[in-house]
């Protein structure tokens, strides 16, 4: 058995601490809700700390794959347990840690079936973490499905608006995606003639002919693109966001959609660079349409969570546009946008969660005047709205800047379309902010409490992260560059 471990297996430690948390939760009696929550918070905190450690311990001057953990699993089929970190997945691992931890804190006031909820939540996150760190095609597929099933249950059991419909729709969409991914993966593995699922081995130039790459790329792009909310396969996402409980919405919009984009990057683009070059025009078109479409369709929504859902469609369009530009800046912007958008939507849903828990409504028309009653809770939402509009000083601005510049350079018309969407995204968000938080005091809600320090903590963390990377984007970009520059330079 071939083993290769570079020092302490931090990546596996993340998975193991999730697993340990899951098991511990299962052994705690269901009545001890507080204990369950503490265990969840501690173990999710551990994974966050590990992710932060990895983020800073990664040697940027050396670049490449680090913290490699390789273990033959089924040598006959060429399946390995192969985890590694590079500049593309570290931001996403960090993002997962942040959203995971703050999601647990957001659900602190939960009362119903707490044990099952957190157990499934941990299972979901294991899948997400695993997918981001693995370098083996087989495991990508496995982790994808591991994260899918808990998502269905979490929405169908704890959801709110049209939850069964949403859960079923989401699951069907994502399974359709995986039905596209699986044949493409098998096609690639079989045609490589290498009898391995190892991405590093498969991505060597010359492994696949251009026509093979074109065929496999479009399948992989559509398959993962469904998960990334690529227009016109986006309609599962607003519905799913709305129905899901807050923490699940956070993971769902914050991380799960990134899995799609990350899959496009890690599988489709890594393995089929020539297919990428061939289909880039189409990707850019779909992305640009998605950007402006999401914003405009969102203008008419009347539910706070729908609004955020549509803004996600638009923002994921920016990721797609960045990925389609075939430039270093585009890739950098796309990966930074994945991170920034994840944190931003987590903040959105976390704030909406607080508002919903207090007012018991998400209908924009019924809200209004909240800013006077709960100024702190409102300002968290407003910060997220600002990030969504691409206001400088928050992380999203830099991502959008990079993507839009490189998109405008490569595809002027589509880039212009995306830039024009900035006006509407401002209109869109400001309208929501105005209708929800401004206006005269609402008598109905006059007795509500503002968010306390403890409950506000997850939002505080998220705001701090947005501001940190907004003021100091190099912290993240230097990391992404270690992966994007060699990749673009290595293109045929």
């Amino acid at each position: 058995m071939q083993m290769e471990f570079a020092g302490f297996p931090y990546l596996s430690a993340i998975l193991l601490s999730c697993l340990a948390g899951l098991l511990l939760i299962l052994f705690i009696p269901r009545e001890k809700q507080l204990q369950i929550k503490w265990v969840s918070a501690i173990f999710s905190g551990i994974t966050l700390l590990l992710a932060i450690y990895l983020f800073f311990a990664y040697d940027k001057s050396r670049g490449g794959l680090q913290f490699v953990e390789k273990l033959e699993w089924i040598p006959y089929l060429g399946i390995q347990y192969f985890n590694a970190a590079d500049g593309f997945n570290l931001p996403n691992l960090l993002l997962t840690g942040i959203v995971f931890f703050t999601g647990v804190l957001t659900m602190w006031e939960m009362r119903e079936r707490v044990k099952e909820f957190f157990a499934l939540y941990f299972l979901l996150v294991i899948g997400v973490y695993g997918l981001f760190m693995t370098m083996d095609l087989f495991f990508i597929f496995v982790w994808y499905d591991v994260s899918l099933i808990p998502m269905y249950l979490l929405i169908a059991l704890w959801g709110t608006t049209r939850k069964e419909y949403a859960a079923m729709k989401l699951t069907l969409y994502l399974l359709a995606g995986s039905a596209l991914i699986l044949p493409a993966v098998l096609y690639l593995v079989v045609n490589s003639g290498l009898n391995t699922f190892d991405i590093v081995a498969l991505m060597r130039p010359g492994t696949f002919t251009p026509s093979q790459q074109k065929f496999a790329f479009i399948l992989l792009y559509l398959g993962f693109g469904i998960l990334a909310g690529v227009w016109p396969f986006h309609t599962w996402s607003p519905v799913g966001h709305v129905a899901a409980p807050h923490a699940v919405s956070m993971v769902h919009a914050g991380v799960l959609m990134k899995i799609g984009a990350f899959g496009v990057l890690r599988v489709a683009i890594f393995l089929c660079p020539q297919g990428w070059q061939h289909w880039a025009e189409l990707m850019a078109l779909l992305a640009a349409v998605g950007i402006i479409y999401g914003v405009l369709a969102g203008l008419r929504q009347t539910d706070l969570k729908y609004v955020i859902g549509y803004s996600s469609v638009s923002h994921m369009g920016i990721v797609g546009l960045g990925l389609s530009t075939l430039t270093v800046d585009g890739l950098n912007g796309a990966v930074l946008q994945m991170f920034a958008h994840g944190v931003m939507t987590a903040l959105f849903f976390s704030s909406v969660g607080y508002i919903y828990d207090r007012t018991h409504t998400k209908a924009i028309a019924e809200l209004g005047g909240l800013s006077r009653i709960m100024p702190v809770a409102s300002s968290y939402f407003i910060v997220a709205a600002l990030a969504s509009m691409g206001v400088p000083g928050l992380a999203n601005f830099w991502a959008e800047l990079l993507v839009l510049i490189s998109a405008f350079r490569v595809y002027p018309v589509r880039g212009l379309l995306a830039i024009i969407a900035l006006v509407f995204s401002a209109l869109f968000m400001l309208r929501v902010v105005q209708q929800t938080f401004y206006g005269p005091n609402n008598e109905k809600y006059a007795t509500l409490q503002d968010v306390t320090f403890g409950l506000g903590m997850p939002r505080m963390i998220l705001v701090a992260i947005l501001v940190l990377f907004g003021l100091y984007p190099s912290l993240m970009l230097d990391m992404i560059e270690t992966a994007s520059i060699p990749f673009i330079n290595g293109l045929p």
Partner: protein, 637 residues
């Protein structure tokens, strides 16, 4: 850069000037939101530090032949490098000083004006943010940084205009301001990217270098100049994006004062000054700018002639004065624009602050009501208003006269006399609309006013000392600004001297003097004042303007030339009921419909197939046997 920090006094001063307001913003937002006095103290001391540093920088670099530039790396990605730094040259130092001075005075004034407001701490935090953004914008060495702070200026004015967010109109106005300027910003963003893609970087010094003409094709240069000018149109509220500015008066009056004088709208003109050589390389862009400045100037003047709201009148006057500045700059006369920007900052801040005192006292914006309630009894603000309005109208010894005269001189140098004629018409209209409210307030029609005032004055004696203290606090900045308005005009030559190295390489010819021009301009200005006097001021005047006698014009002017109606129509019909509706319907009906249809189709086809399925276990058995028999027949025989 880091090494120099402690040694280089200039850099230290620049950093301190720009960092202090930001620090106070963060401190107030995070720690002292619930302590209004402490917050105000923090904000004021930060503004004080900025003021001292800005003035020190101005004094220390009075004679500066070469711009000083500092930059450190902020972000590098692929071939996009975004440095962060400071560019100190006469224009930016002048702007910094203007922002610092006006900002500090307005913050002092706000102590009185905003006293007792529930959002006092938030107000000071946002004002600090506003000042910070504007100062960093002024000192930006690259268009990237400038764009960043440009957006932040827009953002902080959004919050400040919508400061009293319980009022629907306020939050609406804030939103409108942000969106309309965003529309301009998008154009500017595209223009900036165009420059970046062709030039490779966005250093303002590089963009201002005449050699850029050789590095960018001429039509691209024109296109990007026009697009960047789009940003200026949005920010400086020029035609066609001018209607947000009059609505922006929904914010607290000191905010309007800051917004109209030295920050938000001035940013647009400042950007033009900043990129003056860049723009002047493109004659088409200059011509377009000249036309837009002229149109805005005249349009806004007509609107100001019929408004009854004192703040709205001053807001329109801002648009028209900004139009004047752009006309001067576009005519190729750099100094006239810069000078008018400076003098305008002082007198416009003064006008708004005075209006603020009236509004604070009488709780109305209507000029007729203000007159009847006895605004004339408030001596200090009334006198100051008259001085500032005089400057606005361009009456001789006041600052506005000098700067406006320079602009006219610049326009007179153009081949086409149309521009000068338009500008002279503008001078007349400006004088008219500036003095119309003054006469209405000063000489109220109803003689009851004096009784009211006399009955009001003993009342005010009973009022607590707090109000009196607030009034005095507000009066100090007024007096300082009035002094500046009176004197600034005489500093024309020192200022010209100070700015002489700016763009010296362009070889801008010194403005020619036209001996007759000041006389014509003053004659027209006094004419405007005179018409206003005849219609509103003289005893027994009808108090109906000549425009109001023509109903069509009156309606056109007071409805802002129906621009707002047009925008509302576009927004509702095209965006809301058009695109957005179609897209949302498409999502619901077409995409979801087909997906749901797929689901239903599956269920239905299952139901159809279920008919084969009689539910009778024995038929199934029989079917099994028959099939097996047939299969065995097939395989064995």
């Amino acid at each position: 850069m880091a090494v120099l920090w402690s040694k280089d006094v200039t850099l230290l001063a620049a950093v301190a000037a720009t960092l202090a307001p930001f620090a106070s913003f963060v401190l107030i937002m995070v720690f002292t939101r619930s302590h209004p006095r402490l917050s105000a103290g923090l904000s004021l001391s930060a503004a004080g530090i900025s003021l001292i540093c800005a003035l020190a920088l101005l004094a220390g670099h009075w004679d500066m032949p070469e711009p000083i530039q500092y930059s450190g790396n902020w972000l590098a990605s692929g071939d996009i490098h975004i440095p962060f730094g400071y560019l100190l040259d006469p224009v930016s130092l002048l702007m910094l000083a203007v922002v610092a001075v006006i900002g500090f005075l307005i913050l002092v004034y706000s102590l009185g004006y905003m006293a007792g407001d529930p959002g006092f701490a938030r107000y000071y935090a946002l004002m600090s943010l506003f000042l910070w953004a504007m100062m960093c914008l002024a000192l930006s060495p690259t268009m990237f940084q400038l764009y960043v702070f440009w957006e932040l200026v827009g953002l902080s004015s959004y919050f400040l205009i919508g400061f009293w967010y319980e009022k629907f109109s306020a939050s609406q106005a804030g939103k409108k301001a942000f969106i309309m300027t965003r529309a301009g910003d998008v154009a500017m963003f595209v223009g900036v990217i165009l420059v970046l893609l062709n030039l490779g970087n966005l250093n303002i010094l590089d963009m201002d270098n005449p050699s850029i003409a050789g590095r960018i094709p001429q039509n691209l240069l024109t296109l990007s100049a026009l697009l960047i000018f789009g940003g200026i149109i949005g920010k400086s509220a020029q035609f066609p994006l001018l209607t947000w500015l009059p609505d922006a008066m929904q914010g607290p009056t000191p905010v309007s004062a800051l917004l109209h004088s030295s920050t938000m709208v001035a940013a647009g003109v400042y950007l033009f000054e900043r990129l003056f050589p860049f723009f002047s390389l493109s004659p088409h862009a200059m011509a377009a700018g000249l036309a837009i400045g002229t149109i805005s100037m005249l349009l806004a003047s007509t609107m100001a002639m019929v408004s009854r709201d004192i703040k709205e009148i001053w807001a329109y006057s801002t648009i028209s004065q900004l139009g004047f500045m752009l006309m001067g700059l576009d005519a190729g006369s750099f100094f006239s624009g810069a000078f008018h920007l400076t003098t305008h900052a002082a007198f416009k801040a003064l006008l708004f602050l005075c209006a603020g005192v009236f509004i604070h006292k009488f709780a109305t914006n209507d000029i007729f009501e203000l007159g009847e309630k006895g605004s004339r009894n408030l001596r200090v603000p009334m006198v100051c208003t008259v001085i500032a309005a005089g400057a606005l109208a361009g009456l001789p010894p006041l600052s506005g006269f000098f700067s406006k005269e320079l602009i006219l001189a610049g326009l007179a140098g153009l081949a086409n006399p149309l521009w000068l004629a338009a500008a002279l018409l503008g001078v007349f209209l400006t004088a008219y609309y500036a003095f119309r409210p003054i006469f209405i307030v000063l000489f109220p029609h109803h003689s009851t006013s004096s009784q009211k005032a006399s009955s009001a004055s003993p009342d005010s004696g009973h009022e607590d000392a707090h109000d009196q203290a607030a009034y005095r606090l507000m009066a100090i900045p007024l007096l300082i600004l009035a002094g500046m308005t009176l004197l600034l005009g005489f500093f024309q030559y020192p200022l010209q001297d100070f700015l002489k190295y700016q763009y010296a390489y362009l070889g801008i010819p010194a403005d020619r003097h036209y001996g007759w021009l000041p006389y014509v301009a003053s004659f027209l200005a006094f004419g405007g004042v005179g018409v206003a006097w005849v219609e509103f001021g003289r005893p027994g005047a009808a108090r109906v303007g000549f425009v109001e006698r023509i109903p069509i014009l009156f309606r056109l002017f007071s409805e802002r030339w129906y621009l707002d109606h047009l925008y509302r129509y576009l927004l509702e019909r095209v965006v809301d009921k058009g695109l957005s509706h179609i897209f949302a319907q498409n999502d619901n009906k077409v995409i979801d419909g087909s997906i749901d249809g797929l689901g239903h189709g599956t269920v239905e086809s299952g139901r159809i197939i279920a008919f084969l399925h009689t539910g009778m276990i024995q038929y199934r058995l029989l079917a099994i046997f028959v099939v097996m028999v047939l299969l065995s027949l097939y395989f064995f025989f």
